[in-house]
Symmetry: C2
Subunit: 342 residues, 2 copies
DNA sequence: TTGAAAGCGTTACCAC
DNA sequence: GTGGTAACGCTTTCAA
């Protein structure tokens, strides 16, 4: 039989309401009684039932993290891992916990929405990698359900959004490759309907055109296999690129594999750079050049903002935030001597 | 104002009890009425409140995944990523969702226990990487709370446990290295209090002693840095090993970094192998030899078993399961020609 | 300062 | 078949 406030009350010789007051640190309760109640609570090893509390307070203290990604392709994706672990760690110390869900396809996406929101399972949502125009966002706004978008554009200024400056990120990476003397820089981009893709491509193009170079964009799926295939194809062409900027480190790793297969030397014959600055960059021979997008800081901001919104302090902070990013130069794109990665 | 069964009932001109019956597919409800109710539900975009349902049914349909790991060291850990994504994907199609938590230290561990269990937040728990003798397990059993242990020993036969055959895993990896002619094989092990560590070390020792070779075990923390440091030290010694078997792919990557730094050639001068067969193995030049522990299958089994226990079908299936494992041989341990990883 | 009691939105039992 | 109603365990208002 489960221990309830009722039981505690009986054992302590008080009313159940008093037990509740003790638990919520209500000032108006006789010190002696409080003492007594706490003792019984301790001895009975009691914790309040979160379901009952949720129902009553209309707050579950659960935050939902929804990822949109094809089934299976999550494995080994460093971005995903970082996102989840960062979020969980952020939540330590708050009184919220994490509920993770994946929306594999459009159908499932609607289902996730239903499960998490309409059923009131979570108090708020972190949305990641959503498409530029996302049906979910509209519905969430209509329902005025608390949510923060992570890593997407500011087209709608009423949204709570934290994003990296992806245009800047694309630009600095490209500039670096140009500075290293690469003359034909291709960009291995993700799906063109994603805002991330568009922004980084914009930055890439800006940088190129500032020095009168022609762009060469290849769209591909995320993931190492897709990147490898695409890279193999483009590197096999006559007049192929001598540098490739990939949409993330994983794709960049695919490029490296392709280069190795074709016996193209990196960085001498081919410069490679990616985004995310994941631990993976240090695993590559000589290290891989990558733009650090400060995912940790972004997640921290997103969570803190989400809790603000959930708790009604919406006006207390900024609605939107752009995270700076910084380039980490390593061996994969430096034609001179290769930096030690240790 | 939130849409409730009450409202649906009023709009459909029936009692709230009937709405509930429609929702639970109760047979005894007039088809015409059911039709009508469903229509109103659809049109009002109604979903039942999961908190109320949880309270009533005493079931939250939430499963907790608790990881014990130092704060920060999760980043980029492929095991962690695979675990979470595999779990979430397993849960698709069941009516359970995932609640993730990390227990950083012993104190926090108790706190997680309280948060998740005593508050009845989750219906059951998947425990990972628990220590051989784990206080939590005792408490869980006392409370007869549903849980499944993933990747740990069978010392207690009343536990629900799925594990890989870590002794076997250690043995086959070691045998492979011996077969390749490495004469001094060291094992870079994890913390010695973990069952995983002990089992793999056992397998390693069995294999060595079957051919009269001497063991050389180095205990280290998980993570790439720790492994790199430990490997640097041991490789710098006179008469150092010419092969290292690391406790996971990440640690093996640390060994590779150390070797590179010391200009020791892999696999000619040093053979390296790891465990997990993570995507990381394909990123390494020539590929990395690794034991595939079938984490996907383990997770699937664990979830399916956990749901069985939660739903009272405890007798319906096996209590314990050992997953087979298989060695994937790649360039890092093959002295002849290096296999193409494409 | 304390207790009684009214919900929160469901489910499930019991009459009709 | 259907509707009324008592829980589920908690918070919070209202009286005392």
């Amino acid at each position: 039989m489960r221990v309830t406030q009722q039981l505690i009350a009986k054992l302590a010789g008080v009313s159940q309401a008093t037990v509740s007051r003790v638990l919520s640190n209500d000032a108006r309760v006789e010190p002696a009684i409080r003492e007594k109640v706490l003792e019984v609570i301790q001895q009975q090893n009691y914790s309040p039932d979160v379901r009952a509390r949720s129902l009553r307070q209309k707050r579950s203290h659960l935050i939902g993290l929804v990822l949109r990604r094809e089934s299976g392709s999550l494995h080994g994706d460093p971005f995903f891992a970082q996102l989840v672990s960062e979020t969980v760690e952020c939540l330590i110390g708050t009184n919220y916990q994490l509920c993770v869900d994946i929306a594999t396809d459009h159908e499932r996406q609607k289902h996730v929405y239903d499960e998490l929101l309409r059923t009131r399972r979570v108090d708020g949502l972190i949305l990641v990698e959503s498409e530029a125009y996302d049906e979910r966002i509209i519905r969430l706004q209509e329902d005025s359900f608390p949510f923060v978008v992570l890593g997407n554009a500011f087209e709608n200024s009423t949204l709570n959004v934290v994003d990296n400056d992806n245009v800047l990120a694309g630009r600095i990476a490209t500039q670096h490759l140009m500075d290293q003397g690469y003359s034909h820089i291709a960009m291995l981009a993700g799906p063109p309907n994603l805002t991330v893709t568009r922004d980084r491509v914009s930055g890439y193009m800006e940088a190129l055109s500032s020095r009168g170079m022609k762009p060469h964009v290849i769209y591909s799926d995320f993931g190492i296999e897709g990147a490898r295939t695409a890279a193999l194809e483009v590197l096999n062409q006559r007049n192929g690129p001598n540098a490739i900027l990939a949409m993330d480190d994983f794709m960049a790793a695919g490029v490296l594999q392709a280069a190795r297969h074709l016996e193209i030397r990196v960085p001498e014959q081919l410069g490679v750079a990616g985004f995310n600055n994941s631990p993976l960059c240090l695993l590559i021979e000589g290290g891989m050049t990558s733009v650090d997008l400060r995912i940790d800081t972004m997640v921290r901001w997103a969570i803190q903002r989400l809790i603000q919104v959930i708790e009604g302090d919406e006006e207390a902070g900024d609605r939107q935030k752009v995270m700076p990013c910084e380039l980490h130069v390593r061996g994969s794109s430096v034609r001179g001597k290769v930096a030690s990665i240790l």
